[in-house]
Amino acid sequence: MGLCGIILVYYYNSTEAMFDSIDPKSALPMYRQITDQIRWRVAAGVFAPGDKLPSVRELASQLLVNPNTIAKVYRDLERDGLLETRRGDGTYISSDAIALAASERTRIIEEQLRSTARDARAFGLSEQAAMELFRRVLSEMAQRKDRR
């Protein structure tokens, strides 16, 4: 039990952030796949301020992608305030990430809705019909949750 605890603590400290594997054949560029993973985890609260991310080299080696791709992801997310680099130490989830998480959540949903809205318009769905559909989906989900 004690040993398990030590191993667990070590595991959490050493592996730092976990990432899903990247699909180079996806229509979504690898840069976007990695960026989205970090943004999503910040939005969902999985990554909290002060969490350390792997170094560019470590993550490139783990995901088997060009180190320049990871460097660009880190650079852009740092510019957006989600990450901060401590000189000579590494890359961390920034202290602003909690405040940013709320706007990240809005941004992610907005992006998904925009794509849905584009399709709705192309199919000639009226604004009213589209809104009704969205409300119905939301209420169906709420009901399913209540039943459980």
Binding site: I22, P24, K25, S26, A27, L28, P29, M30, R57, A60, S61, L64, V65, N66, P67, N68, T69, A122
Partner: protein
């Protein structure tokens, strides 16, 4: 579609060729190839079988002479200064012949004698990670293990340029991942350049930032991967109302000049463009039409371009 056309100087290029041609009898294995591999790049050289990829590598290493044109590697003319070039280049070839009776340790020791620099830790790190016993003779190793030994020895002398010629071809997934991992690790040294040739396009898409396409000895395209993916797109124009099929040619969708892989169906038209701009889509909007652009994977781009160019030169 060269993004490096602005007079590339030899100082910022790891590999620079100008009108490089190599003939074998009447066959032009390389036909006026002007390639520019910037320092620090991971450059993927792709092409169908027999396109000239291995000939290109053999010229770089001065294993064969060019028929005409110039070749500069790391600032040295390969024909005039082949030894200077070879000392700074690590090379891994598919099915590299190794002395079967030699142990891994002896082989590494032998190769060590060929180069001015040697980093024994770099070699043992690579071998230990995949559990290759240095006392084993090369003859008993699997194909994947041999590839790892070859790459371990190739990075041992800390080359400024690492060339992997079809080195991923035919490897099992574990060995392939390990080779890729070693390429990424090898890039840790500043300004180190990797040239990788092969057919495993998804793997190359993972790690390459520059690509070149050879078709029938000609370099038909050279670009950064980002640029290539931004420029080459598949466009689908939906026109459900236009041309009910009653009148042939009625409401036929105009495709931009240079479009290829054009498929016309009754209510949609699909084609690939090499110079995509968002304005292309806008021009189709309205009158019951809608256009969408889809990103292509490197494999799709490769197949489309290869077919387009094979057709042209056939």
């Amino acid at each position: 579609m060269t993004d490096s056309s602005a007079s590339p100087r030899s100082t910022d290029a790891a590999i620079l060729t100008h009108d490089l041609t190599r003939r074998f009898g009447r066959l032009r294995a390389l036909d006026e190839v002007s390639a520019h591999v910037p320092r620090g790049a991971i450059y993927g050289l792709m092409g169908p079988n027999g396109a000239g990829k291995t000939t290109f590598v053999r010229v770089l290493l001065n294993l064969i002479n060019p028929t005409s044109g110039s070749v500069t590697v790391l600032g040295h003319d390969v024909v005039k200064e082949p030894v200077k070039v070879r000392r700074r280049v690590g090379h891994v070839a598919a099915l590299q012949p190794l002395w079967e009776w030699m142990t891994v340790r002896d082989f590494a020791g032998f190769m060590r004698g060929c180069y001015p620099r040697w980093n024994p830790e770099a070699v043992s790190t690579v071998l230990e990670r995949i559990g290759i016993d240095q006392a084993a003779t090369l003859g008993v190793l699997s194909r994947g293990q041999r590839a790892i030994v070859a790459i371990a020895v190739a990075v041992g002398h800390e080359p400024d340029l690492l060339i992997l010629d079809e080195a991923l071809t035919g490897l099992d997934p574990i060995a392939r991942r390990e080779v890729l991992r070693n390429v990424i690790d090898a890039m840790q040294a500043e300004g180190r350049t990797v040239l990788i040739t092969g057919q495993d396009i998804a793997d190359m898409e993972r790690i390459c930032d520059h690509v070149g396409f050879l078709v029938k000895g000609r370099l038909v395209l050279e670009a950064t991967l980002d640029d290539l993916k931004a420029r080459v797109k598949r466009i689908r124009v939906e026109h459900p109302s236009a041309g009910s099929g009653q009148v042939p040619g009625e409401g036929e969708v105009q495709v931009p000049a240079g479009a290829f892989q054009i498929e016309r169906r009754p209510r949609e038209t699909v084609f690939t463009v090499e110079n995509y701009t968002p304005e292309m889509l806008v021009s189709y909007d309205g009158a019951g039409r809608r256009a969408v652009a889809t990103d292509l994977s490197l494999e799709d781009i490769f197949i489309d371009l290869a077919q387009a160019h094979m057709g042209k030169t056939a």
